[in-house]
């Protein structure tokens, strides 16, 4: 199928404003009488607050508001951006400011003052008396007998989610071999270049508040913020300007309620902007997980039983975690077919900063474990690692256990074939023995499946309005939650394609404004192109239907005989007649009809077509220094129709930077005794620079689906899901050593090499 606008590498709608520095992000704003907000954070990882005295801070000249737990509405809430849905387990254990410190950095009080210095001085004047409690910094410590209780949950276990399919014990009995391994993946941060946590809140005299915020979810953040403040939903207006990256970090409320409360208390606009350190200390990260995987397998590589027991470190507040346990189970269930599967997921509170969403939402964690073990199974059984995946993965026409729905399309096998060729799989594998010297090369692969939205676990509502203007251009009103991924551009392409207009003729709302656009879930679960795209296409189709009906009247031909291309309506057959969209629309506005042609849609998409990827890595391990160097990554991704291939490649390339970091360099660490974060800065938390990035080759496999707009599925998150497994498997190919813990640091490599020598 070929299209006019879909599939083109058009320029982004926001590229020019960004490249010229003219784009105004939330943190760039300035309003008359705008105050500076600051947060007082707990210096202890776990402490009871015995008393708090804000009187000195309040009386400091220039201070306009001071708030603590005493000033916050006593309404518990949950910061995670979930629509009420079957898969959302919303445990409400948060307040705008806490009455107990549950991690080092927990917001205890906040001030708004005329300038930064005054705000800082006010923080120093707040007197807090703490009773320091022992912290529990990991799941073992938190679940141990006699561990301090962080909330009231027994053994600090917030939730337990079991899933049972068939009978795993029977499956293990049927197996020729049983493999059991324990994997650990650490806490890592999204590290958006614009530090997470920036909001400007402005009150009005009627109890309403407008918040400009760097968010992925304008409507859901509006709802949660209104709830936390005790306001009606419509009283809060969220405006999302350009956002400096998100990757899940802004998937829900970050600091909007604090900013709003300061604004409502002071009566002035308040800018609350977290520093880089605060964005580490006080915002949500990826979940660390300890996983035990047990797999029964026949000699020929057929799985007879698959079992996962996972301890998910959710940090100090529930937020996403009890819901997150669902997809974690889902990723595991869905990867490989097997009659007997069992999952036990435990969500555990610890005294680390609460965890939330980070690109992939549990999938990179699970895939690292599963794909490492499958590689070991293939090696032990003497099977081709590619073949064991081809044999066991669910494919088109089969039921996908993540959703329970039939898989619409599958491009995995093509991806494996093209990816293997690009990395040089046959020639480069198993070189271990033949490599003299201290530098050992190897290749490895990891496979993954991911979602396009989160149905049926979560609602995926989107709304769009398409207005055809009197000159034939069109406006697309959408709650545009583009946070850098380019969805605003892709949705514009979808609208233009459906309308038969040129890309340049369609203008999307560049920002999101909840007073203007209809309800949209936002950017999560790689949903914008698929869910948003379907709503946009439907609204455009509705507008087009009205346009053609009017053109039919004017041209005196049946509407069914008309089509619109590049701004001109033409007859499909018979006598050639035509009229421009501009002329029809002008007549609609100013002729005898007197109306604008507008199409509206608000809906959920029909499905949730999975996407697939096969990623391949070539590494070189230096046995003297322990350094793992990634030489090349090949990422073959089935994304369905690529609405804009340049954007799709950009998503995969950027995700790889994060995936390689996850594998080799990134880990947010705490002192286990005091609970003090050890590396809340970019000098000690290492993300890859331009010099560290290896050669990257992306391969797009376009297995179009039936329910997506023009066959599109998704791409946003999937680029990093299989990366750690591919690299770890390549390290195994190079050295014969299996690393079951991330990141694979030089220290760990050297220790493992030494242990083997003994």
């Amino acid at each position: 199928m070929s299209y006019a606008v879909v599939g083109q590498r058009v320029r982004r709608v926001d590229a020019r404003e960004k490249v010229s520095g003219r784009a105004v992000y939330a943190g760039d704003m300035n309003l008359p009488h705008m105050l500076v907000g600051r947060v007082l954070r707990s210096p202890y990882a776990h402490a009871r607050i015995l008393s708090i005295d804000t009187s000195k801070a309040r009386s400091l000249p220039g201070v306009k508001a001071v708030i603590s737990y005493e000033d916050t509405p006593k309404i518990p809430w949950n910061s995670a951006g979930f629509p009420p849905s079957p898969g959302a387990v919303l445990m409400e254990d948060q307040y705008i400011l806490s009455d107990k410190a549950r991690y080092m950095g927990d917001p205890i009080a906040a001030v708004a003052a005329v300038d930064e210095d005054t705000a800082e001085r006010a923080l120093e004047l707040i007197e807090v008396e703490y009773e320091v409690l022992p912290p529990a910094m990991d799941v073992e410590a938190a679940m141990a007998d006699g561990a301090p209780l962080i909330h009231s949950a027994e053994k600090n276990i917030a939730a337990h989610m079991p899933v049972v399919i068939g009978d795993v014990e029977e499956g293990f009995r049927e197996a020729d071999f049983v493999f059991e391994d324990r994997y650990y993946v650490p806490k890592v941060y999204q590290v958006t270049l614009e530090p997470c946590g920036v909001a400007v809140a402005a009150p009005d005299m009627d109890g309403r508040v407008t918040i400009w915020t760097s968010t992925q979810m304008p409507h859901l953040v509006r709802g949660i913020t209104a709830h936390a403040l005790g306001l009606r939903t419509g009283q809060v207006r969220i405006i999302k300007p350009p956002v400096g990256g998100a990757f899940g970090s802004r998937l829900g409320v970050v600091n909007e309620p604090i900013a709003a409360l300061l604004a409502l208390k002071s009566g002035y606009p308040v800018m609350l902007k977290y520093s880089r350190e605060e964005s580490f200390l006080g915002t949500e990260s990826r979940h660390p997980i300890t996983m035990v995987l047990k797999t029964g397998v026949k000699k020929d590589g057929t799985f007879t039983a698959r079992q996962m027991t996972a301890y998910i470190d959710g940090g100090a507040y529930a937020t996403h975690t009890p819901s997150f346990a669902g997809p974690v189970a889902g990723w595991f269930l869905a990867m490989y077919k097997c009659a007997n599967i069992k999952v036990d997921n435990y969500s555990v509170y610890t005294n680390s900063t609460q965890c939330g969403a980070f690109r992939g939402y549990g999938n990179p964690q699970v895939v690292f474990g599963v794909e490492s073990q499958v590689d070991d199974i293939a090696a032990a059984l003497g099977l081709d690692p590619l073949e064991i995946r081809r044999k066991n993965h669910p494919c088109e026409g089969e039921v996908w256990s993540w959703s329970g729905w039939v898989i619409e399309s599958c491009g995995l096998e093509e991806g494996i074939e093209r990816g293997a060729k690009a990395i040089g799989w046959e020639a480069k594998r198993n070189r271990q023995a033949g490599q003299p010297g201290t530098k050992k090369r190897g290749v490895g692969m990891g496979y993954m499946m991911h979602v396009s939205g989160a149905r049926p676990m979560l609602h995926e509502t989107s709304a769009a309005v398409v207005k055809i203007n009197e000159d034939g251009s069109a406006n697309l009103i959408f709650s545009n939650s583009d946070v850098g991924q380019g969805s605003g551009t892709a949705l514009t392409q979808v609208a233009a394609e459906e309308l038969g207009l040129a890309y340049e003729d369609v203008m999307i709302t560049k920002t999101a404004d909840t007073d203007v656009a209809g309800f949209d879930i936002g950017s999560h679960a790689s949903r914008q192109a698929y869910s948003g795209g379907n709503a946009v296409r439907k609204a455009a189709a509705a507008a087009k239907e009205k346009l053609l009906a009017m053109a039919a009247e004017i041209l005196e031909v049946p509407a069914e005989n008309l089509t619109v291309e590049n701004g001109v309506v033409r007859t499909r057959e018979g006598a050639p007649k035509s009229i421009s969209v501009a002329e029809v629309s002008h007549k609609a506005h100013f002729g005898s009809h007197g109306h604008q042609i507008i199409g509206v849609a608000s809906e959920e998409p029909e499905g949730n077509p999975p996407v697939y990827a096969a990623q391949f890595a070539e590494v070189e391990v230096d046995t003297e220094t322990g350094v793992v160097e990634v030489l090349k990554i090949v990422a073959a991704h089935d994304v369905g129709t690529a609405i804009n291939p340049a954007l799709v490649e950009g998503q995969i390339q950027g995700a790889l930077q994060q995936g390689i970091g996850y594998t080799l360099t990134e880990e947010y660490r705490y002192d286990p005794v005091s609970g003090r974060p050890l590396n809340p800065n970019l000098a000690d938390y290492k993300i890859l620079t331009a010099m560290d990035m290896p050669e990257v080759e992306t391969i797009l496999v376009e297995a179009s689906c039936q329910t997506g707009p023009f066959g599109a599925k998704s791409v946003g998150e999937s680029g990093l899901v299989g990366t750690a497994a591919a690299i770890a498997n390549a390290v195994f190919d190079a050295t014969g050593i299996r690393f079951k813990e991330l990141p694979i640091t030089p220290e760990k490599v050297l220790a493992a090499l030494r242990a083997r020598e003994k």
């Binding site: 926001d14 950027g654 930077q657 010099m691 990257v696």
Partner: protein
């Protein structure tokens, strides 16, 4: 303590009184409303605040405003805007090298300094030149491609 300074930014002179401790970055953003220069860390670790001082790229979060007095400062606002983008900016746009855009002004300034001093760098030189500019969105792939395209032209 405040000192009177003259900042020469994008060809214009601004006289102001600056607290000694304030950084060039904060003065550019807050006093001159030149918000195209971004703050990603405030500690010299990310490059989002890169501006040119006498033609050399610096992290403006590490430069005190008083020390920038009298020097020629170029920010992203002085590079290319409504009247037309520079070839580096056009290349970044055309290659799809911009996602969230938060690193982009710093990248543009670094690339400008690099190409001003070395119009035809190799890919290794481009990567080395960019190594102080963190980007979390693009994997640097299309950024490097864009600058290499300018290098070749």
């Amino acid at each position: 303590m405040k000192l009177p300074i003259t900042l020469k930014v994008n060809g214009e002179s601004y006289r102001l009184d600056a607290e000694v401790k304030r950084t060039l970055l904060d003065v550019l953003r807050e006093d001159l409303a030149l918000t195209g220069t971004k703050k990603g860390c405030g500690a010299g670790e990310c490059g989002a605040c890169t501006v040119l001082m006498d033609g050399k790229p610096v992290n403006s979060c590490l430069v005190l405003a008083v020390d920038a007095s009298g020097r020629e400062i170029t920010t992203i606002e002085g590079v290319g805007g409504i009247e037309g983008l520079t070839p580096i900016q056009e290349a970044l746009v055309d290659h799809g090298a911009i996602q969230c855009g938060y690193c982009t002004p710093g990248v543009v300034m670094t690339a400008k300094a690099l190409l001003d001093s070395n119009p035809h760098p190799t890919e290794a030189e481009v990567r080395e030149g960019l190594s102080g500019n963190l980007c979390r969105c693009t994997g640097y792939v299309k950024i490097v491609e864009a600058i290499m395209a300018v290098s070749r032209s």
